[in-house]
Symmetry: C3
Subunit: 368 residues, 3 copies
């Protein structure tokens, strides 16, 4: 079969000519063998081939067109991959549970935007990360993959990270500050649930016309090794708004301290009358061609008037061995402890209330 090779432009004169207008095909394929177990009555363990232990697997198409005068037009289409089983992820049409597509289908769920950028910043239209998700993505040493190290899915019982607008929002209008603000950065987003103006909750007269409307903002500063950002978001629901606020910070020491990077995040979410709080601390330490990283996260659910506040804490330690800039092997161990009735388990396992779940993961990540 005769094949076409897509030219690697970075090393060629043609590439230089394309620096300002370009079309890029990119992606990540990351797979791991994962073993997770629970403990106590009814607990279960599982060995599986999982995906995205180090970085989320994806396939994307993006491009930029130089319009002159510092302006550019841009598009970005990026689909998430469950490459262990050759599937993707559905998107969501209306930022509400009713808008989820069929499980496993391909979509450009990770990002689907067209934007105009210039000296004023950037205006983006489409589906994109909500501002408040960025802190969890950036200040967790294990990032946002679905591996056992990443804290995202264990870190949000109320859905601030896993609800339809927990990570991304469809039908959004975003504005991002320009990059030239001396280290300050920021963005705001408004996304629409697109319900009819006379829509009501099924079986009631309660208007839900604003269900799925999301408002979010994030502002931060990066400079001299420090990166700190405050973010917040609210998604309206007639059954109770979902609110998320978080503060993330990291500090990267210089070579005299082995370029150690410390990271932390404070996280708060509420849905209706229930609150929840989380905290995460971690570090990343370069070691030769690799990196050691660890995180400790704690999450507590605070139902209004409840005597017990279910609490889970999670410890994860990992090593990433870079075979090249694009390819790495990695190993992770993680453990979740539960108290006050909580029963969170690592993905694939089932654990009893107040019992622990632990797991190990060995994988390979390749970027292109």
């Amino acid at each position: 079969m005769k094949k076409y090779l897509i030219a690697l432009a970075a090393a060629s004169g043609a590439g230089a000519a394309l620096a300002q207008s370009s079309l890029t095909l990119f992606g990540v394929v990351d797979a791991a063998v994962t073993y997770t177990k629970g403990s106590g009555p009814g607990s279960a363990h599982k060995t599986q081939l999982s995906n995205s232990g180090n970085m989320f697997s994806r396939l994307g198409f993006r491009g930029t067109e130089d319009l002159g005068g510092g302006y550019s037009a841009n598009f970005w289409l990026e689909m998430g991959l469950q490459n262990d089983s050759a599937q993707g992820f559905p998107s969501n049409t209306n930022n509400q549970a009713s808008g989820n597509g069929p499980a496993g289908v391909l979509s450009f769920n990770r990002r689907s935007t067209v934007s105009l950028a210039g000296p004023f910043g950037e205006v983006r239209l489409g589906r994109d990360y909500v501002p408040a998700f960025w802190n969890t993505a950036i200040f967790d040493p294990f990032g946002t993959g679905s591996g056992i190290g990443a804290n995202q899915i264990y870190f949000s019982g109320l859905g601030g990270l896993v609800a339809p607008t927990g990570t991304r929002a469809s039908n959004s209008i975003g504005y991002l500050l320009p990059a030239s603000l001396g280290g300050f950065y920021g963005q705001v987003m408004y996304a629409m649930g697109e319900n009819d103006s006379n829509s009501v909750l099924p079986g009631t007269l309660v208007s839900n016309r604003h269900d799925g409307d999301h408002t979010g903002a994030r502002f931060g500063y990066q400079g001299g090794g420090l990166n700190v950002a405050l973010a917040t978001g609210r998604t309206r629901y007639a059954s109770g708004d979902l609110r998320v606020t978080n503060l993330g910070a990291s500090y990267t020491f210089d070579a005299s301290l082995m370029n150690l990077k410390l990271t932390s995040e404070l996280y708060k979410e509420s849905k209706g009358t229930t609150d929840a709080k989380g905290v995460l601390v971690g570090f990343q330490l370069p070691i030769g061609p690799g990196e050691i990283k660890a995180s400790y996260a704690r999450y507590r659910l605070e139902p209004a008037g409840a005597l017990l506040k279910p609490t889970s804490s999670k410890l994860a330690i990992g090593y990433v061995h870079n075979l090249s800039k694009r390819t790495a092997l990695y190993a992770t161990i993680a453990r979740i402890s539960n108290s006050n009735g909580a029963s969170q388990a690592l993905s694939g396992a089932i654990t009893a209330p107040n019992r622990a779940s632990s797991g190990t993961e060995f994988g390979m990540r390749h970027m292109f």
Copy 2:
């Protein structure tokens, strides 16, 4: 993440060498903020982020191989995008309602063909536009996007444009005349519903073995500013065939008349014992880097023996501001009026019978 850039061949010697055999990645991402409203009892309005207001959003792969002697082999795979929510469009397996895929999934619904072209013309196999749709696509100044300007979806109550074979047909064999006929052009298509030879309507003994079989043809002439084409199509259904016939024409004046382009279409469809008729007139006027365009369309349903013939008319005016050949900003206003019981509303709105619906749209379109 190290990225590969796909070389822009047009500007390079390599590109010239590829002029006859090529592989092309292409697409459109178009998003707009749209407000539409209805009037009268039960009416509803909506503000939404919509897609495809100026051109239909898409992602495609196509290629041509020079076989020598004027012959070429070609393929074309093109998926429609709902980029506001990162989804696509299902295709249809059998040109019947039963063959629609799950809502929102990605497919190469817009076109999926392999073809052999040569001095004799072109033979295409797969899923493609039906011939009769081309007139609506070409002679509507607002094209075939899903924006409030385009007339397609308001222009066909019987389904001649929105039925499974209204726009495209699967399982088709198409023949297109060669380009060398002094301005005359034409094409025919036969597409198969692929029912079993002993298939019957559920619960009956009535054969529906030919349901979904489509036959269509289009012939036209283009020259000296004039473009005119007649097209027709029939899709067989045991419950009543769907027939569409239309005549489109446009005339583009020269620079002394500012390159004004006038367009028009006459449209007729019937399903079983119900007829419907439509008419469209419009213009496109280049103004500096932009273009003003407008259309007026009228559609009347004529059920056999009915006293009232529900009638809708639609007026749309738009301005497209080109930032480059690939990128444009646009604004459109539109209004639908109803009489004789009709209640058509602009997409997203609900209007009462005999009442009007109006809307505005501001968007950005980027091609790659």
Copy 3:
């Protein structure tokens, strides 16, 4: 619309530089007009536009990165296409019937792997062919397309070729021997069903925690015109394991015998207490720019204790006319005979027990 052309690197200096690290977009679009019929009471015939008569239609992205020292990192994402109707194929999440995705959706069902290769061989993670399928793919002159010539789908009543793990398995870990073993080759695979450790068959206490676990291996030798391979696979199910074993061989004569290639395969499968056996013989004969090929296959179901062993035999003859290395026209005729109660029919037709089904196919295949 301004288009980007993907550079054909094979002919350029840039391509040479990319020989070791590359990103490739590739595919096949193959469509045919197929007529098949059955005979006897209740039989049905059909004319359809089919896909993949010569090669399976597909769209893929794959790449390799040279890591030095003979090592490389690789990814491969390949989706199957039903290009007659612009759809794809779902994948399967757990190697069990419950894990099939919605019909017709796109997925990277054909292959979705990341791998590390080196002097030791290759370790692959993801969804890939099961080892035992390769013999059917390679030793059937009509390959694995869905055309009427290919024997795959008529060759396995118990599902050894059409069950969730008949062709490919998800969640797999594969190891392939290096290419430098003097003509010997081989691979092993372990794939996981990923059921919970305490999962039971619905409504029972019978554990099905291992349902969908697949183990397979294939070893062969190629040299001096000969290619021979033995393969086996087992998929565990609480309701009865599915076992497949086959032996394939081919011999290609030299120019003095017109480069005639003879092929054959012995095939055995069992599910629970039912056995089945198959045999295939065929040839491929180059004729000028084309090739004549034929196959005869016989398949017999042997239910435990049954008096009758339903048997089907199939004869297929085809001609492939190459217009170039990438593009071909082809024609195939095929006939299935049934006895002992069997009623297999060519795709699209229905035939009565012990009656024959026959068909013809004319198509075009284009690779890119």
